[in-house]
Amino acid sequence: MSLVIARNELRRLFAQPLAWALLAAVVVVLAYFFLLTLQGFLVLMPKIAGNAASPGVTDLVALPLTRAIASVLLLVVPLLGMRAFAGDRVALPLLLTSGLSDARVVLGKYIGLVAFLALLILATLAMPLSLQVATALDLGRIAVAALGLMSFAATLAALALWASALAQQPAVAAGLALVLNLLLWMLDAGARYEGVSSDFINYLALPTHLEPFLHGIVATVDIAYFLLLSTVALALTTRRLAASRVRG
């Protein structure tokens, strides 16, 4: 039943200009980035061509792009998720009186948003994949990077939903989600500057768990981190919805 809500969320996203505009903007910005790195690679290529140990097009073009996609997601996901609850106060009673549990309502909105993000990631990854026509890419590594990006995006989506459930206005929800994202992104950097090296702080930060994927490593600890963070954010969102029935 959550899928019914998910499909509706996806349909609504595509019926509004915001999602299309963001999709277009992200593709344009990342296409520019892609062309720049490709240009750089073409300049560098004659120098490294003879060396078998030197990095190839996957390392120098495809993977930098996935890093750029991650940075863009930090900014874009809050905007896509901000209206999930905060901008939906009028229509929310429809879902809340449908006989579904609050958890299913939240899950439905979440799946809808994650499906949209999957399309966005696919659309951007199509650029480096197009190089396969002319050269041999390390498709395994790109697939692992894509998996990492998806886990990362799904976690940001859960955080955006929580922010949207907390706030009354969509803009406040977007701001809150952005602050959460940036804090989790830079958490370990601050500690490092201060000379503090703590495994715990490193564990909490998002890049600690995204980077291994971009290096082609799939580790249980990283998948567990993304799963844990998403589950906690979705549980808090559900609690917030339940509280709205009590608080009024």
Binding site: M1, V4, I5, N8, R11, R12, A15, Q16, V90, A91, L92, P93, L94, L95, L96, T97, S98, G99, L100, S101, R245, V246, G248
Partner: protein, 248 residues
């Protein structure tokens, strides 16, 4: 459901329901029963606690004390029982970016209608609510009268036993109000209907039973006929401290 109707418990039962909002007792010790085949008008001035009562019946708010039972089942214990009712809040819960037909199909699917039952249910409801000419229009582009009709249609698309309508004719022009009242009267033949209003013509046109709510307490509950023709004078006496039963 219909074969064991005789043995079934009362469709809607409010047992000593109270609700406190922001430290103020908005509804106090409300007892109310409603069974199939009747239209109950919940009459009261603005702030009397009508919307709060209806939101508790629909499960959007939980009572501070007391119980709301639908067919003998407490909504808090079994959320799925909400499918036995349809709810139209004060502001119709519409998605402006969707078209009438796809919105109603979503509502039907959300309330658990089987896949093959959805299209006939939607066609039937479009016909019944006079939405044939606007079925492909975007909800956001409809007039207030049509939006209210779509709001009513979403509440009954799954053929619920109990229909809960919060001020269904408020904000409509006189012609639209007459059309909505006719629809509500029709609904009363098949469903149990409870509607809140501060407009006396609503009650006169649709309801055979009246409950007058004032400052959160029930001041009168009985047949409309018993109040005679001059409903306005009696209503004004009740809300200014008199007793409707004596007045009648």
């Amino acid at each position: 459901m219909s074969e064991n109707q005789a043995a079934a418990p009362v469709l809607l039962q409010l047992r000593a329901v109270s609700r406190v909002l922001a430290g103020r007792r908005v509804v106090a010790d409300l007892n109310l029963n409603l069974d199939r085949g009747s239209v109950l008008g919940l009459l009261g001035v603005n702030g009397a606690g009508k919307s709060t009562t209806l939101r508790m019946i629909a499960g959007l708010l939980t009572p501070s004390s007391g119980q709301v039972l639908i067919g003998g089942v407490d909504l808090r214990e079994e959320r799925a029982v909400a499918r036995r009712l349809g709810f139209l809040p004060e502001q119709a819960p519409l998605y402006p970016e969707l078209r009438v037909q796809e919105y109603l199909a979503f509502c039907a699917r959300l309330r658990g209608l089987r896949r093959d039952a959805i299209a006939p249910a939607v066609s039937r409801i479009i016909e019944r609510c006079g939405l044939g000419d606007v079925r492909r229009r975007l909800l956001g582009n409809l007039s207030k009268g049509f939006q209210q009709r779509v709001g009513l249609a979403q509440a009954i698309v799954h053929a619920p036993e109990l229909v809960v309508l919060d001020e269904p004719a408020s904000g409509l022009d006189p012609l639209q109000a007459v059309q909505i009242r006719a629809l509500v009267r029709e609904l009363g033949q098949e469903h149990a209907v409870i509607l809140s209003t501060h407009l006396l013509p609503d009650v006169q046109a649709c309801c055979e039973r009246v409950a007058i709510l004032h400052e959160g307490t029930l001041r009168y509950d009985g047949p409309r006929q018993a109040l005679g023709d001059d409903l306005e004078a009696i209503f004004l006496r009740v809300v200014s401290g008199g007793d409707a039963a004596v007045a009648a």
